[in-house]
């Protein structure tokens, strides 16, 4: 197989959401000493980009979108140790601490966003669900995060998003980390009212909003 064929198979594996195939191709690339930055840029990334286009066109729905993002993550998980071993740095859009706020054990929405972000080149630390507000701040300081992303499904727990921003202000950390809020009851108005930096109505939009915020 020539490189072009392999790249196209990699792209296909992401578009089809075929995790086994994506992992197999990632391993193949390492075993055959392929240039890994090229593998990512010309193999896997075009796949996830195509998925994004299919989503925009309305052909792909959430099950396809998320399965492809999970494939991308799986392939990257195989490539990453090798990249580190060879001290090759890849392009990272930014570091993110994400989780569902305390009192709320729903994590589907947050998982969607985390998957899309990591598939699109962000470094994501997922703290899980029912996360104490202190923990978000602690972790963000520790990894020097660019973003804190707070999810809430309940109208009652979304208030935790507001409290976290107040805590950042009390600790003089407001502005140091950008705060993104999301979840079913959350809307743009709420985000503006509580002083969040960003809000997106779905996982795909979150990626775009965060890229834009970083470019500003």
């Amino acid at each position: 197989m020539n490189k072009i064929e392999i790249f196209s198979q990699m792209e296909r594996s992401i578009i089809d959401g075929n995790k086994q195939e994506a992992e197999k191709l990632a391993k193949y690339a390492i075993e055959n000493n392929m240039e890994l930055t090229k593998v990512i840029e010309k193999g896997f990334v075009p796949g996830i980009q195509k998925v994004g286009q299919l989503w925009e066109k309305g052909e792909y729905f959430l099950p396809e979108l998320i399965t492809s993002a999970e494939c991308m993550k799986a392939a990257m998980a195989i490539l990453q140790p090798e990249l580190e071993r060879c001290q090759i740095s890849t392009k990272s859009y930014g570091k993110i601490v994400i989780g569902t706020v305390e009192g709320d054990i729903h994590d589907i929405g947050k998982n969607l966003v985390a998957s899309m972000l990591s598939a699109n080149g962000f470094e994501v630390v997922d703290l899980g669900a029912d996360v104490k507000l202190d923990k978000f701040i602690e972790k963000a300081k520790e990894i020097n995060a660019d973003f804190i992303c707070l999810s809430a499904l309940l109208t009652t727990t979304m208030l935790g998003q507001k409290r976290l921003i107040e805590m950042l202000k009390e600790k003089n950390l407001y502005g140091k980390f950008r705060v993104m809020v999301g979840g079913a009851p959350v809307n743009r108005k709420w985000a503006e009212d509580i002083g969040a930096d960003g809000y997106a109505e779905n996982a795909m939009a979150a990626v775009q909003v965060m890229k834009n915020l970083l470019n500003n």
């Binding site: 959430l62 729903h106 029912d130 208030l159 079913a184 009851p185």
Partner: protein, 490 residues
């Protein structure tokens, strides 16, 4: 005379019901449920259930579920504030009530959602009190002019003061139960009288799939021990937090609700429990949870049928819409939902006034939904043979130019056979134009101001009101607030 038939909707066959329950029981025993609350885990351990400590997973046997089902009452009697009017929650009785815990209110003048305040909450409760076909009230709005931490107590404080109807409510934090319980006791007179004549239902939502948070589990335990009915609100989202198939979601729904029912019965044998829910057909494009989707309503009707099969009182979130304004979507989604709920014989139907995925309350919509509920009640009242013979005698003196308008028979029956709308448009075109050519939302807006003006607030006796105020103020002070917002009753 031939007996009347109650029109009923049944979406599931007996064999399918059995299969769904069987699978739910297998899951409860094999995978078990995650329970974040140590007291509940202790209760389950004491009942000889396998509890995996680090993962907080409890495995519940079919035998324990069966025991719990046999000790759960199949009928609950709720009473209004005076303790005189009784509402049967069970059988095929249907009670509509507004949807619960909206964060915003739709402002009719701007057509935009905004955060609600005390005044909105008072108007909402007072309006609910005026509506004949909305049997229960709900703590349906979260007031933004008091701190979040006491917003659960506060909405009950307002609800009890301005409406006599039984109330559907719930806690937002564990400490919220005590003051809420105290207020209910203050209205009833004592703890004993409150448990004999429940005034409130508390909602408790498991987190799908198969999880019970600390807060909701504690609410189940506290309510069970106080004789307050718990409404189990399982809420799988198809293909996201529950299986994509309707039957798969029903299996999970039954498993979650039955585990909640077991916790209630272990906390207090005979505790009143309502088999409810707020599942939805998850939108795979938008990632949202449409309550107005026909599939959401099919799941609701089907789990309620299973609840009835288990001889339990039932509840559903139906008769609400995902629309953001009072347009045709708001009307047809709410209309279809309320009618299907009534045909399904669901005992507590929450949703009136609600829109935008259970997040927004509209007082105008509440009035429009009152009309929908009237129609739904008329429908399930069915068709009855009023006379014997049915009509033969009316035609005995039949002649050319005969009419029925002046027949005594017409006058005798027209009010029973037909219901009368208040704000539905039945004018001729010219009459409609002469009244300003208004939409139903505009007419609802006019009507609600009229209702609030004509019906003075239905207040509590002063000493009870002062007691509620004392409890509320204490709760506020415990949470760092020295005074309460001013309440203007009218």
């Amino acid at each position: 005379m031939i007996p009347k038939i109650r029109p009923k909707l049944k979406l599931l066959g007996d064999e399918l019901i059995k299969n769904i329950i069987d699978e739910a029981l297998i899951i409860l025993e094999k995978q078990g449920v995650f329970i974040e609350n140590s007291e509940a885990l202790e209760l389950l351990r004491d009942a000889n259930m396998k509890v995996d400590e680090p993962s907080k997973r409890a495995h519940i046997t079919p035998e324990l579920v069966s025991d719990a089902l046999s000790s759960t009452p199949s009928v609950i009697k709720l009473y209004d504030r005076s303790g005189e009017k009784e509402y049967i929650v069970g059988g095929d009785e249907v009670h509509f009530n507004p949807g619960s815990a909206a964060v915003t209110i739709l402002d009719h003048s701007t057509k935009q959602e905004r955060r609600a305040n005390t005044q909105d909450l008072v108007r909402f409760v007072r309006l609910t009190e005026c509506l004949e076909h909305i049997h229960f009230q709900s703590t349906g709005l979260i007031s933004s002019d008091i701190p979040d931490i006491i917003s659960d107590t506060y909405r009950l404080f307002i609800g009890l003061q301005f409406s006599s109807k039984p109330v559907v409510t719930g806690t937002f934090h564990i400490e919220g139960f005590k003051p809420m319980h105290e207020m209910l006791k203050a209205v009833r007179g004592s703890e004993k009288e409150l448990s004999e004549k429940p005034l409130a239902i508390f909602d408790a939502c498991p987190s799908p799939p198969l999880k019970w948070s600390n807060l909701t589990t504690q609410s189940l335990i506290d309510c069970a021990r106080s004789g307050i009915p718990s409404e189990l609100i399982s809420m799988g989202m198809t293909g996201a937090t529950s299986p994509i198939t309707i039957t798969g979601t029903l299996v999970q729904h039954v498993a979650e609700n039955l585990s909640g029912l077991v916790i209630c019965q272990l906390a207090s044998k005979g505790a009143p429990v309502i088999f409810g829910g707020s599942p939805s057909s998850f939108d795979m494009r938008k990632g949202t949870t449409p309550m107005g989707a026909i599939e959401t309503m099919m799941i609701d009707s089907a789990y309620a049928q299973i609840g009835k099969h288990l001889k339990l009182p039932t509840h559903a979130y139906m008769g609400l819409s995902d629309s953001k304004i009072n347009d045709s979507q708001a009307g047809f989604e709410s209309g279809i939902g309320a009618v299907l709920a009534a045909l399904s014989g669901i005992n507590v139907v929450s949703g009136a006034g609600m829109m935008d995925f259970e997040s927004c309350q509209s007082l105008e919509k509440l009035l429009i939904d009152e009309e929908i509920c009237r129609m739904a009640y008329r429908l399930i009242d069915g068709i009855i043979q009023r006379d014997e013979p049915i009509a033969l005698n009316l035609f005995e003196n039949f002649y050319e130019g005969f009419q029925f308008l002046t027949q005594p028979h017409t006058r005798k029956w027209y009010r029973q056979e037909h219901s009368f709308p208040k704000i539905v448009d039945r004018d001729t075109y010219d009459a409609w134009v002469s009244f300003g050519g208004k939409s139903i939302a505009d007419r609802a807006s006019d009507e609600l101001e009229k209702l609030l003006k004509e019906n003075p607030p239905f207040l509590l006796p002063e000493e009870i009101r002062q007691e509620l105020h004392r409890i509320m103020l204490q709760d506020a002070r415990n949470n760092g607030l020295d005074s309460l917002p001013e309440i203007i009753a009218s």
